[in-house]
């Protein structure tokens, strides 16, 4: 059911720039459905990882592929929505304030994938250290081989390099908010308003409006491009990490990723609700 809902949610006909609220609304709905699906996938992953199950690596492939497809689906929908209203993607109402505070360019920071991997791997390693020292295999993330670790390390370095490059690009773009044309335009409009609309000003107004529109459109285009690069890096990093891992390791990694994502969302929501409660009570007290 959830799958059907989420695909229809994004199948909204393209809207014009002006109608950004519905777009925001529809992505919000999509996101809610996506979380329900992620939760379902989490259940599947957990039962697939249980030691009781026959550990046939190849049998895990379809499940892993399905989960990857689900992530791809998310980024496709996000990209479509960003085309309609990129600004909504930078202040996502579907995220809690807690999540929002930790976002990097509208999503999770790609280098976090390696911390997630090392943390999960570490927990599994500590749980089986005695066996590992004696030379036993555990098959999970504690079992990262020398070549896997070397690949992960290289991937981490290149991911951080890309992440830094995108951050730098974003910084440059943010600075263009104060470029000469913006400063000139803001000055011209201010003056025009102050002059109180002489004949010339009234005549110029539509042209000025248009100039503002096009200046801001250029800024938004830049944002969309940067968001696209960031989302691309996120998805690529996820896929490349999974590529390095064995199927059962990939399952463990995807479990950790989903658990962290879902729980942080939950905790953040709870915090926001508590905060809203306080505001509500304060407002009520003031009204009394």
């Amino acid at each position: 059911m959830a799958a059907a809902t989420s695909s229809t949610a994004t199948a909204n006909p393209a809207r014009r720039n002006g109608s950004s609220a519905p777009e925001r609304e529809s992505f919000h709905k999509f996101f809610e459905c996506w979380l329900v699906e992620q939760n379902q996938h989490l259940h599947d992953l957990v039962s697939a990882s249980s030691p009781a199950r026959d550990a046939d690596d190849q049998a895990l492939r379809p499940l892993i592929d399905r989960v990857i497809l689900h992530y791809e689906h998310y980024y496709k929908a996000k990209s479509r929505s960003a085309k309609q209203n990129v600004l909504a993607m930078f202040s996502p109402t579907w995220r809690s304030s807690l999540e929002d505070a930790f976002l990097w360019i509208g999503g999770w920071r790609p280098s976090m994938a390696f911390h997630l991997l090392y943390s999960k791997s570490g927990l599994q390693l500590e749980a089986h250290l005695a066996e590992l020292i004696r030379g036993l295999t555990t098959g999970d993330l504690a079992d990262l081989s020398p070549s896997q670790l070397a690949l992960i390390d290289d991937l981490q370095k290149s991911t951080i390099r890309e992440e830094k490059a995108i951050t730098e690009k974003f910084a440059k773009h943010q600075e263009t908010v104060a470029d000469a044309s913006m400063v000139e335009l803001s000055h011209a409009i201010t003056e025009m308003t102050r002059a109180g609309g002489g004949e010339a000003a009234v005549e110029n107004a539509p042209a000025m409006e248009e100039e503002v529109e096009s200046a801001l459109a250029a800024k938004e285009e830049g944002l969309e491009e940067i968001l696209h690069m960031a989302d691309d890096l996120r998805l690529r990093t996820l896929k490349e990490v999974l590529n390095i891992l064995s199927p059962i390791q990939a399952v463990h990694f995807l479990i950790a990723a989903a658990e962290l994502h879902l729980r942080i969302h939950e905790w953040g929501k709870k915090k926001d609700e508590a905060q809203a409660q306080i505001h509500h009570q304060e407002a009520y007290a003031t009204a009394q």
């Binding site: 004696r134 020398p146 070549s147 390095i244």
Partner: protein, 413 residues
Amino acid sequence: MAGICCGVVGESEPSAPVEPSSRGSRLRILEPRPFKFVADAAVTPSLESGRKRQRVEAFPSEEIESGRELRKPRVEEEKGKGASEIKVARADGSLNSRENLQAEPQECPKFGLTSVCGRRRDMEDAVSTEPSFCSESPQKPNGLHLFGVFDGHGCSHVAIKCKKRMHEIVREEIGSYKESSVQWKEAMERSFARMDSEVQEWSDVAKTSSCRCELQTPQCDAVGSTAVVAIVTPDKIIVSNCGDSRAVLCRNGVAIPLSSDHKPDRPDELERIQNAGGRVIYWDGARVLGVLAMSRAIGDNYLKPYVIPDPEVTIVDRTAEDECLILASDGLWDVVSNDTACGVARMCLRAQRPPSPPRSPGSSDLAVGANAESSDKACSDASILLTKLALARHSTDNVSVVVVDLKRDPQRR
């Protein structure tokens, strides 16, 4: 942070509390992967007892399949590379002769290394492994192998330069001595002094393109590196240390530190710094002038003369009970004690290799390499397990570990 044990050099610690392996658990830790021969792979690979000259590096098959750019893993397995060279240099000075190899008692110790970025955003560690680093000059002492760990701070370029140059400098410095009469302490002190002055000359700076500091000033004064360098000779181990990386010898199950960390609050170091007019300020730990959390380093011009590049040199005779030598950056030592590290390493080295060749598909030609390299694999397993243990224990730093197998009796396994 787990207890860091940095006793006086030579002081022995109680033996590690790790259980010896039982006979029933001799499976390998790590799944064998196809090997790919690179470098001097043309050399006949069929010599007995694994004394081969080729360098073997592991590439996972999926890396090639996925068409991703081939990356050179830094988890290297290398063995016996120096064996023929040592022998040959002694016998007739020719590097091509491979005669009498079996009779040669000296061989390069097997080793494994792992060096990862870990939970940091920048990689500032560098590791140097130079088996038979003097073999190119027949008149110079033979059977010398150098291993070094350099943990940079401020940027990576000093550590990288140490990795590139230290063995060359040491080779030149010991070249002035007659064979077997090397004055190691003074040779190493001169080597470190030269290394330090070289990192201050920025003539060839442009070569380190990955430099974070981008060498913005002509003198990158706020950049430096630790250096722990071990030279393994047929009968001695010479460890020279400057900074807070560490070398630990595992002898008969006992962890013996061969270096003592240069921390600003080490009483003698504190006194030296204060006598030089410097101060140690406690700000997120003891720091020289409130800045650097170690009292000696290569580089760090701006903290001279409080922070000095002089190494402390420890020389120990090798014994039959020596098991392995571990060199590592503080990314390991901050969270894993000397005892634990030795316990883990010796267990990995003792773990029996399975008799059957790897089951990876298409590895018929590779199985030879894998089998012959088994002991190196053990060193590599040890270094990687220590690295993973450091990461598991929340090490937030780069982690670099070199494990050198010191056992000389091939019957051991």
